[in-house]
Symmetry: C2
Subunit: 165 residues, 2 copies
Amino acid sequence: MPQIAPEQQIIDQLLAAWNSQNRQLTEWLNKLPAQSWLQEVAPGKNSGIYLLGHLIAVSDALLPLLGFGERLYPELEKPFLSNPYKPGSDYPGLEQLITCWTTVNQRLDASFNTCSPANWLSRHQAVSEADFALQPHRNKLNVLISRMNHLAYHIGQLRLLPASA
Amino acid sequence: MPQIAPEQQIIDQLLAAWNSQNRQLTEWLNKLPAQSWLQEVAPGKNSGIYLLGHLIAVSDALLPLLGFGERLYPELEKPFLSNPYKPGSDYPGLEQLITCWTTVNQRLDASFNTCSPANWLSRHQAVSEADFALQPHRNKLNVLISRMNHLAYHIGQLRLLPASA
């Protein structure tokens, strides 16, 4: 087996964990009837559709934050990032959101796979060069770790949706 | 600023993220009245007490799995790992579980802080040397990443508990 630099190995493991989380949500999307996604994860809490849209908008925002390009779906910001869940709102439908989810993940995957360890450890776009010089942990990899935990947090909630209508 | 090896920097960032997750749960424990922890996170789902005990038992099991020693509270395995949540069960009280939670985290923290990158990338105790030679990603760090996502997953559910009784 060819030697691999330890930082490359760790980054590969983190990307595998990130992909595993995304796959878990995709599998849940494939398993649950559309009706279930309209329900709230617990009484008076966010609906499945809202949390799905929220996760897509957060992942989409990784593109500019990590320097990989513009967001694909800036129109998701208002309903799913700027505003909290509001019952009865006219949210996009499940099919449309699944398309967005798949497309954003493919795009992130392509960018992540060409990102070197040095690039992962470079600053993200929301921190200045001056601040980064003092706080080198505010790098792209830290954003990925933080978003992975955010994803797992909401998957835990989405798994409370009923598996049958 | 002294140079730090990239793998050490990434591991430090991962440990900071792990600690941040644990801190979030500790803050939630401090914030919610004891009554809230007796409730289920959603109708018919796990109770707060069950999920707390489950997270303690999983973290406690990291000690032998990562080669840091014996579990501190093996008695938590039966109610919180081997068995699913059962309403009306005689679970330990919140105060007792908070003590376990604090103690396990202090113990893990002490072990994690003395663990070198090479040790983090070595095999954990549930994989054989032969298997590890073929699958070097089955190392201690991978267990930490996986448990961090598991923790975030259940914190997402625990955050659904009512903040006031």
